[in-house]
């Protein structure tokens, strides 16, 4: 067993003239929570579909759980697609049993686990109801259970939090973290950056089918976090953009985030600001993943 659960090398996927994935490579270390980030249309879902063997790459190789994609036992993987769907007319308990069975569980075992999960997520009283009678959030939880039922070693979640209210999102987040603590690997796709910062050990930012940056969360932040300050000022602080020490200014509404040149003393910027307007807050800050994301994605290629 190698240390990487997913090893992707130079995969390419074209739809006609459009290249959705363009020579993508990354590895997911065992036991990590790996965030696959990128704007809409970056090629995240296509990459994940290729990992699930739903589509085949035109070029490149994918190894998962130590074996070639063609020989991967899909039962060891759990997959939550981006767009959710269950059999609407089927009863909740039956749907879960069915999904458990096609993932290799015995009928009895699938029923037992479905029951336990429904109980844990407070859906036990809905087990005999058809899926279509459930609210959207409940259906999402049911689908989430269906991906976990067979206790996969690798869990691939495409936008697991979209459409969930904060309460349900935190329930799902707890489940993911618990799963992580058991030593399983989780890959998830998202463009909700606050989730990334809370959950991920590793990130991989994709844009236009290519890897823009990847590594541990700390390493990525460190690479970017050379020099930054967060300022809260009274009045218009846009003049700060013109200072020679400042590389970029991002106006976050209540707060301004400034990226400074390497080696620049942040306090000189504070002085410059205070010379013109009152400053109510000053903080040395590393950039958020959100900022990095915006900056790298909006760069001209």
């Amino acid at each position: 067993m190698s240390d990487s659960v997913v090893d992707i090398r130079g995969i390419v996927k074209r739809y006609g003239d459009f290249t959705a994935v363009d020579g993508l490579s990354f590895t997911v270390p065992a036991g990590s929570i790996y965030g696959l980030l990128g704007p809409n249309g970056a090629g995240k879902s296509t990459t994940i579909r290729m990992m699930m063997r739903i589509m085949l790459p035109d070029e490149g190789t994918i190894r998962i759980l130590g074996s070639e994609l063609a020989r991967v036992d899909l039962d060891r993987i759990g997959y939550l697609p981006e767009e959710r769907g269950l059999y609407k007319k089927m009863k909740v308990g039956k749907v879960l049993t069915f999904f458990g069975e096609i993932k290799g569980l015995e009928r009895r075992e699938a029923q037992r686990r479905a029951h336990a999960w429904l109980e844990r997520l407070g859906l036990l009283d809905r087990a005999e109801k058809p899926v279509e009678d459930l609210s959207k959030g409940m259906q999402q939880k049911v689908q989430f259970i269906s991906t976990m039922l067979h206790e996969p070693e690798l869990l691939i979640l495409d936008e697991p939090f979209s459409g969930l209210d904060p309460v349900n999102a935190s329930v799902i987040k707890d489940v993911i973290l618990e799963y992580h603590r058991k030593g399983h690997t989780i890959v998830f796709c998202t463009h909700m950056m606050d989730q990334v910062e809370k959950l991920c050990d590793y990130i991989c930012l994709i844009n236009r089918g290519r890897v823009v940056l990847s590594g541990t969360l700390q390493a990525v932040k460190k690479e970017y976090g050379h020099n930054g300050v967060a300022l809260r000022v009274v009045g218009d602080g846009s003049f700060l953009r013109e200072l020679p020490e400042v590389v970029s200014l991002q106006d976050n509404g209540n707060e301004l985030f400034l990226r400074l040149r390497d080696g620049v003393d942040p306090y000189r910027v504070l002085e410059a600001a205070r010379a013109r307007i009152p400053v109510t807050r000053f903080e040395l800050a590393e950039p958020s993943i959100h900022d990095i994301f915006i900056e790298r994605v909006s760069e001209p290629s």
Partner: protein
């Protein structure tokens, strides 16, 4: 085996559906209502008597007609209480008007008006209030015709009984050799009914189960369940699971109908109700029905499956579904042709073309046992095309199932077919 779970889900979800249970029970009832009830009604005479006046301008017919109408009711009483009323010359018209008034007033049920011209032009009137009983009308027609002929013959000096004997018609009973070497009585009317029922049942089963498959795939694409399924099973397992699961559901329904049909055929053959005696259906016909359903289902459903896999919405699919339905309708349209001569070269050719064969061959088997080699050849040809259509469906299915948006053109589908090979 993962395909087993797909089969089980498809089967149980289809069989448990309300529409399945309703149609399984309702179709035999409708068949009974449409085919058997009219036969019974036509044969069941209302047991009542009629007050009849025969108004006779000729003066020669009234008594003869009255004497001939000696029908009795079940209690032994006379069915027609006939009064002959001769009314020669000018008295005829006012007498007729008076009788019609009586009829209107309810004193009479039927007025028969026989004008003097009847010998020349053969025209007379049957006047009634509301009674629209064809059997009664026909009975009067027969009797009056008979009496008029007697009179005409007498006028020529010929003896009625002798002429009747000499001109007696010939009655051909139709018999058919069976495979066992015996002979079997046949009648056109019941054959037509049985052929119609069987081909319609086969047609509607093939169509509705084909549409079920097509719809379920579109639904799975729409709800994106398909991605979850494909992350667990291969497209091959999914396709076969659907074909077998839905096919078994169809077979269950058809089997239930066959059992009910056999029970009915047994009841009809027992002769307890004479009117049903003509509805004789050989048990082998039910076996053929099921065999052609299985073959036809594999053929058409793999095509319906292809349609489902390349379309994203039901509206999208309608046009292509229509294209498949067309070859299914042609045999129904050919049914009349087939009834006239089930062994014509055209009928033989049609029953060997795989797309038409299930319905046409079944109809031919019911009408007139075709040579065994023709039956086997037609089945073999269907089987060959089943393999072709399933391998075609499998390739298109693999590509189409994940395609959303615009429906591909036929040319694109052919490209997919080549790509998937």
């Amino acid at each position: 085996m993962k395909v087993g779970h797909i089969i089980r889900r498809e089967y149980t979800e289809n069989v448990r559906r309300k529409s399945f249970i309703i149609s399984t029970l309702l179709v035999p009832i409708l068949m009974l209502v449409f085919f058997v009830v009219p036969v019974l009604f036509a044969l069941l005479e209302p047991d009542k008597s009629y007050c009849v006046v025969v108004l006779d301008q000729t003066g020669k017919l009234g008594d003869g007609v009255a004497a001939a109408l000696s029908d009795t009711l079940t209690d032994g009483g006379r069915k027609y209480l006939v009064t002959a009323a001769p009314s020669a010359g000018d008295a005829y018209a006012p007498a007729r008007a008076a009788r019609v008034e009586e009829l209107r007033g309810g004193k009479l049920d039927i007025v028969i008006a026989l004008p003097a011209s009847i010998f020349a032009d053969g025209k007379a009137s049957y006047i009634t209030r509301e009674e629209r009983n064809m059997n009664v009308l026909e009975r009067f027609e027969d009797v009056i015709t008979d009496v008029v002929i007697q009179n005409r013959l007498a006028a020529e000096g010929l003896e009625y009984e002798r002429v009747k004997t000499l001109t007696a018609g010939i009655d051909l009973d139709m018999q058919q050799v069976t495979a066992q070497g015996g002979l079997e009585e046949k009648s056109f009317l019941s054959d037509y009914g049985i052929v119609f029922v069987f081909t319609m049942i086969l047609y509607s089963s093939l169509l509705s189960w084909g549409m079920t498959i097509s719809k379920s795939i579109i639904e799975e694409k729409g709800s994106r369940v398909i991605e979850v399924l494909l992350s667990a099973v291969s497209t091959r397992d999914l396709m076969w699971g659907k074909l077998i699961g839905v096919g078994l559901a169809g077979l269950t329904q058809l089997g239930a109908w066959a059992v009910m049909g056999l029970a009915f055929a047994g009841y009809a053959a027992s002769g307890m109700v004479g009117a049903l005696a003509s509805f004789q259906i050989a048990p082998a016909v039910f076996v053929y029905l099921i065999a052609f359903f299985v073959l036809g289902f594999m053929l058409f459903s793999s095509l319906f499956m292809t349609v489902g896999s390349v379309c994203s919405t039901d509206q999208d699919a309608q046009q292509l579904q229509g294209l498949i339905t067309l070859p299914m309708i042609i045999p129904i349209l050919c049914l009349m042709l087939l009834l006239q001569n089930p062994n014509s070269p055209l009928a033989v050719v049609l029953s060997l073309i795989p797309l038409f064969a299930p319905m046409i061959m079944l109809a031919r088997i019911i009408l007139l046992q075709p040579p065994l080699w023709q039956i086997l050849l037609s089945m073999a040809l269907i089987l060959v095309s089943v393999f072709l259509s399933i391998s075609f469906a499998a390739r298109i299915f693999r590509v189409g199932i994940l395609m959303y948006g615009k429906r591909p053109s036929l040319r694109e589908m052919i490209r997919w077919y080549k790509l998937a090979g």
